[in-house]
Structures are given as structure tokens and as C-alpha cells.
């Protein structure tokens, strides 16, 4: 197991490395000079060249990449804005703030939004999916199936504003979405996030309901499940001990991808509810041709997805001894 984890982590590092190269090349492939934005209205060739020099953009691309890697791993004191300890992504072209600190500032919003919603949609989705599978063919099952179909076809930019309009602006039942620090006041943290959580998890839960139901039904038709029933084990026991375990495997696969993507920044959700998370940061970094910020957000999002994948693989091994002992 340990060997497996070490191998996967090494693999992840390689992927991140390749990803940073690709991001670098793509950035310089853009027909836009980041220095122009900073140069402002009084721009002349001398000041532009000066900015190029300050940002290091006058160096060759491999050289710039080398400096980027060096700073990332060892930190740097070369920046005019001040020291930049490892992992150093440098300073934002646009705001002049240190990139790492900016990301760490936005992270709690994204993590709170994502994890909160994930807990809800996983529990609700699996729960209703399993109830539907248990009651397969009944009216309840058909209602759940149809309902989840309808909901999962909705999009966040439809359901979000709708929830805001009805629950917040019209009836004032809930607070306007906002991120408040958890450690400062857990109550306002909760009340500020409840609407985004509900909307996000409603959409995701409906997908997990359908997935859990079909996966469970598939498992119930497995031969080993029939064997368990032929041994005289009760329907409940067979359902929860034999079928459930196998049904989790496709679900965690998707869950790992969803969670990783959301942790890397739920762009539309954040925009819909005006939450300043990593997703917005990513969009801003592209808008302002902010190379250090872009690299930071890209690598951070990718790390999240890779991390979630790693957790999924570890979960496979936990669930299925064939993976563990292979």
C-alpha cells in the first residue's frame, strides 16, 4: 500500500511538472503582452522595456521557466516587493501581492463551499439512491428517479439566481451569501454559506442519487449477492454488506473527480453567489495576463485533482481486497 502511494505521489509530481511547462508555453503563446497592461497610458518603449526587465520577461522562455522552478522550490529574495519563501510563485503582476498568500486567502472560501456541499450531496444522494434501489419498481422509486432526472438537468446559473430571488431577496428567509471566517464566528460562516450549499448539493445530489440507484441495482444482480441470499442471509444484510460495498466503487470514482474539480475552484458557483474563491481568482488571472497568479492557480487546482485521485485510489484498496492484495 505504501509503495503504491509513493509511486502515485511521484507520478503526480511528474504530471504537475509537465503541466507547469504546458501552462508556461500556452501563456507565451497568447498574443498579449502582460507588460502592456502595467505600462498604462503613458507607455513608451523605454518604460515598456523597463517593465519587461523588472518582470524578467526579457529573458528567454527556458530561462524564465528555470527561474520559476528555482523560486518554487527554494524561494527567492530577488523580488522588489520583498522576500518570497518557498513555495514561491512570485508576485501578482496585477495586484503586486504575493501569489501564495493570495491563494491561501481565497482557499478557505472554496474549501468551505466545496466540503460543505460535498458532505450534503454525498449523504443525500447515496441515501435517496439506495432507498430507491431498495424499493425498486415502486411509486417511491419512480418518483425519486423522475425527480432526480429533472433536477440534474438544471444548471447552477438557473437554480442559483432562482434560490437567491425566492429565498433571500423576496422572503428574507436566509442571509445573503457571503464568506465569513469560521474561526471568527461559526454562526455567520454557516448562515452565509447555506444557500450556496443547498443549491450546489441539490444539483450534485440528484446525480449521485441516480448513480447510487443504478450502481446498487447492478450489484444486487451480481451472482455473489444471489449466493449470499441462497445462504439465508436476510435481504437487509445482503443489501448493506454485500451489494453496498461494490456499489461504492463507481461512485467514489466520480466523487473524486467532482471534489477535485470543485476544490480547484467552482467558477460558476462562486460568480453566481459572489463568493471570492479560487475559481474567481483563476478567471481574474487570465483576464489580467497575470502569469504568476495563473501558474499558481493552475498548479494548485491540478494538485487538488491529483490529491483527490490519490484518495480515491486509496479508497478502492480499502473497499476491494483484490486491489489491495494485487
Amino acid at each position: 500500500m505504501l509503495r503504491f502511494l509513493v509511486r502515485r505521489i511521484l507520478g503526480a509530481v511528474v504530471i504537475l511538472f509537465l503541466l507547469s511547462i504546458v501552462t508556461f508555453l500556452l501563456f507565451f503563446g497568447m498574443p498579449r503582452d502582460p507588460a502592456l497592461l502595467m505600462c498604462g497610458k503613458t507607455c513608451n518603449p523605454t518604460s515598456l522595456a523597463n517593465i519587461h526587465h523588472v518582470l524578467g520577461l526579457d529573458k528567454s522562455i527556458p530561462e524564465q521557466y528555470w527561474i520559476f522552478l528555482h523560486n518554487l522550490i527554494l524561494g527567492s529574495n530577488q523580488f522588489a516587493q520583498g522576500p518570497c519563501p518557498a513555495p514561491c510563485f512570485g508576485y501578482s503582476y496585477h495586484t503586486n501581492d504575493p501569489v501564495w498568500a493570495t491563494m491561501m486567502d481565497r482557499l478557505p472560501t472554496t474549501v468551505s463551499l466545496t466540503l460543505g456541499a460535498a458532505v450534503v450531496f454525498l449523504i443525500v444522494g447515496l441515501g435517496t439512491g439506495m432507498v430507491a434501489a431498495w424499493k425498486r419498481g415502486t411509486l417511491l422509486d419512480k418518483t425519486v428517479t423522475a425527480g432526480s432526472m429533472v433536477i440534474s438537468s438544471m444548471q447552477i446559473y438557473f437554480l442559483g439566481p432562482l434560490a437567491l430571488a425566492v429565498l433571500v431577496y423576496q422572503s428574507h428567509l436566509f442571509d445573503k451569501p457571503a464568506y465569513n471566517n469560521f474561526t471568527a464566528n461559526p454562526v455567520t460562516w454557516f448562515s452565509g454559506l447555506i444557500i450556496p450549499w443547498v443549491v450546489l448539493s441539490t444539483i450534485f445530489a440528484s446525480q449521485y442519487t441516480r448513480m447510487a440507484r443504478s450502481s446498487m441495482i447492478e450489484q444486487l444482480q451480481e451472482e455473489h449477492v444471489r449466493t449470499a441470499r441462497a445462504k439465508g442471509m436476510s435481504r437487509r444484510y445482503v443489501f448493506f454488506r454485500y451489494a453496498w460495498r461494490g456499489s461504492l466503487i463507481p461512485i467514489i470514482t466520480i466523487f473524486g473527480i467532482d471534489l477535485g474539480t470543485l476544490l480547484g475552484g467552482a467558477i460558476i458557483t462562486e460568480y453566481t453567489f459572489g463568493l471570492p474563491g479560487l475559481g474567481r481568482l483563476a478567471v481574474e488571472s487570465v483576464q489580467f495576463s497575470d502569469l504568476p497568479l495563473l501558474l499558481g492557480v493552475m498548479l494548485f487546482s491540478a494538485s487538488m485533482i491529483l490529491l483527490c485521485n490519490l484518495i480515491v485510489d486509496a479508497a478502492y484498496a480499502f473497499i476491494d481486497p483484490r486491489v489491495r492484495l494485487a
Partner: protein, 353 residues
């Protein structure tokens, strides 16, 4: 199997007569294309300590019958009619909780493919111990010890350690042994083995068949042995029931059915099967055509579209009238007893030499 005495509902005495008796069983499935009559009027008995071999090709209803005995069919799409008496208890109308007490306890099953029929998620020991805990109220410890004991009995070397292994760590033959251990852990009176050696290699199959026979001596269970292989059935069964398109076409003792078969389908099976000592000069003599669809089964005798002896019956009887299967030694065919005897001796047997 050869007795047809007890009235429905009367519990059979401990070790006399049929332990299982199935009467006029009908099983049909609702499908998108219509109703499939998988089993259509089937009756048979199984005694303790005896083996009934059910032989038939795919779609003959042999597996469905046996899933129905233990109530393992999907009740939503399946209609079951008739009577299944196990040790005097009616199973078709029994509640699920009552069936649970029977399954794995009084009657157990062995399936075809031990790789998919055992759960990949639990150790072999645990899977064997579970029914013992459930039916005997044994503690975890005691059930585990029993599982190890059973593994030793079915010939798993080093059973104490192997009980902690998962099915995928076992070889094919070992898995089927574990499956047998699981089925026998509560000392059932009836063991239903559904093609238990079809997925195995021939040398392993020979081991498993002998093991089942030897264990039957020790446990005294009645066995229903389902297979498509006449050679296997000859080796295992005391009595044979031949099934075709959802009903029994012939039954009798193994000797009777294999050495003096009466039904044209049984003749066809024997004639189409090459043997290690059969004459090489002659081509095989296959049954023409293919088994019928059970959505629209043929009228009259189900076998008539493939039967080459129809003209000997004369008229349209084979097409219009369904031949019935009498109790005891019998075959469901309109040919007269004399015709059956002479046709077999003069036309079928010479081809088998």
C-alpha cells in the same frame, strides 16, 4: 424420486420417502417481448441421500426450477404456480423470513462459476461462517472454527491460514471447494448443485465430482445435480430427469435413462455426443434445428418440430396433443412403449456402439 406417495402438507418421516417434492410447477417471466414460460408443469421428488440429476440444454428451465425452489427468483417479474414441499413445508407461499430459515440451512446451493458466486469483499472463512452464525446461532469464534473445519474437509490445504484469504487468492478448483464447504456448513438435507463443474478443467472436475459423492456419503444430503453433460450425470446421479423447453420429457433411474432411453430427445442427446470409445467411422447424429423460443413454444409436444419419429405416431397427435409424463419411470412421448423399445434397440443403440 421413484415414490409418489405422500399427500401434500403431510410432513415426511425423517428418513423415508421424498424430502423435496415439486408438483406441477409453473414459472413464467414477464419480459418486454411477452411472457416466457420457463417452467411448464414440472413434478419430481428428491430423497435424502440420493442424487437426482437434471439434464437439459440452455433454456430448458433446469436452473430456473432450482432458483424457484429456494425463492431466489425476482418476485416482481415472475409468476410461480404449483407446489414445492420441502420436508413438509410449502415454499411457494412461504414468507421471506421463513424462506431465509430454509436457505443455507435445510437446503443449500452451489453455483456454476465460483469466481463470481463468491463475494470478492470478504474472506473465504467469513463467507463460510456467516450461515452457521445465522442458522445455528453460533458465536463468531465457533463459526470461524467451523469454517476452518469445513475447509479442511473439502481438501483445502492449510485451512487455518487459507480461511483468512479472499476468493481471488484461491485457484478455480479451490474456490469451488470453498463453495461446497459453504453449502455444507449447516449440514443441509438438500443440496442443489447448478452446473458446479462446468467452469472447471476436466481433471479438477473429476476431483470435485468425487468429492461431492464422498461428502454425500458422510452428510447424507439429497442432491439435485443440474448439468448439460450426460457424462457427468452418469457419474453422479441415482435418478435422472431430462428436461426440454420447460418440462420433463423423461425420467427414471440413471441406468434406465442412459441404457434404455425412451424419449426421442434423450436419443438425440446420446447420439450427438462423441464418446472416448465411440466408432470413428460414423458421423455424429445431431438433433436437427434449435431449441424453441419459450415466448411462443410449439403446440402439442414441444419437441415435435425437431423430432424425426413423428410419422411413427401417425396423424397430427404430436402437433395437437401434449404428451404427459407419468410418475415413476416414464417418458412424455406419444410413441407406444413397444415402439420406444424397438426404435432404441434397432435404430439408436447400434449408432452408440
Amino acid at each position: 424420486m421413484t415414490t409418489l406417495t405422500k399427500d401434500a402438507g403431510t410432513p415426511a418421516p425423517a428418513d423415508a420417502g421424498a424430502f423435496l417434492s415439486v408438483r406441477d410447477l409453473h414459472v413464467s417471466f414477464k419480459t418486454e417481448d411477452g411472457v416466457v414460460r420457463a417452467v411448464d408443469g414440472l413434478s419430481f421428488d428428491v430423497e435424502r441421500g440420493k442424487t437426482l440429476g437434471i439434464v437439459g440444454e440452455s433454456g430448458s428451465g433446469k436452473s430456473v426450477t432450482n432458483l424457484t425452489i429456494l425463492g431466489l427468483h425476482n418476485p416482481q417479474f415472475t409468476t410461480v404456480e404449483g407446489e414445492i414441499l420441502l420436508d413438509g413445508q410449502e415454499l411457494i407461499t412461504a414468507r421471506e423470513s421463513e424462506l431465509e430459515k430454509v436457505r443455507g440451512n435445510k437446503a443449500a446451493m452451489i453455483f456454476q462459476d465460483p469466481l463470481t458466486a463468491l463475494s470478492p469483499y470478504y474472506t473465504v472463512g467469513r463467507q463460510i461462517a456467516e450461515p452457521f452464525m445465522k442458522h445455528r446461532g453460533a458465536s463468531k469464534r465457533a463459526a470461524w472454527d467451523r469454517a476452518v473445519e469445513m475447509l479442511a474437509k473439502v481438501g483445502i490445504p492449510n485451512p487455518k491460514e487459507r480461511a483468512k484469504d479472499y476468493p481471488h487468492q484461491f485457484s478455480g478448483g479451490m474456490r469451488q471447494r470453498a463453495m461446497i464447504a459453504m453449502a455444507l456448513v449447516c449440514d443441509p438435507d438438500l443440496l442443489i448443485a447448478d452446473e458446479p463443474t462446468t467452469a472447471l478443467d476436466v481433471t479438477v472436475q473429476a476431483q470435485i465430482l468425487d468429492l461431492l459423492k464422498d461428502l454425500q456419503q458422510e452428510f447424507g444430503s439429497g442432491i439435485i445435480f443440474i448439468t448439460h453433460d450426460l457424462g457427468v450425470i452418469a457419474d453422479m446421479a441415482d435418478d435422472i430427469m431430462v428436461m426440454y423447453a420447460g418440462s420433463a420429457v423423461e425420467r427414471g433411474t440413471t441406468n434406465e435413462v442412459l441404457r434404455a432411453p425412451q424419449h426421442p430427445y434423450t436419443w438425440g442427446l446420446l447420439n450427438s455426443m462423441p464418446r472416448l470409445d465411440s466408432d470413428l467411422g460414423m458421423p455424429l447424429n445431431p438433433i436437427p434445428g434449435a431449441p424453441p423460443s419459450l415466448l411462443t413454444p410449439p403446440s402439442g409436444c414441444r419437441f415435435h418440430p425437431r423430432c424425426t419419429f413423428q410419422d411413427r405416431v401417425g396423424g397430427t397427435r404430436c402437433v395437437t396433443e401434449r404428451p404427459l409424463l407419468a410418475p415413476d419411470r416414464a417418458s412424455a412421448c406419444h410413441l407406444t412403449a413397444d415402439q420406444k423399445r424397438t426404435i432404441f434397440l434397432e435404430e439408436i443403440k447400434p449408432r452408440l456402439a
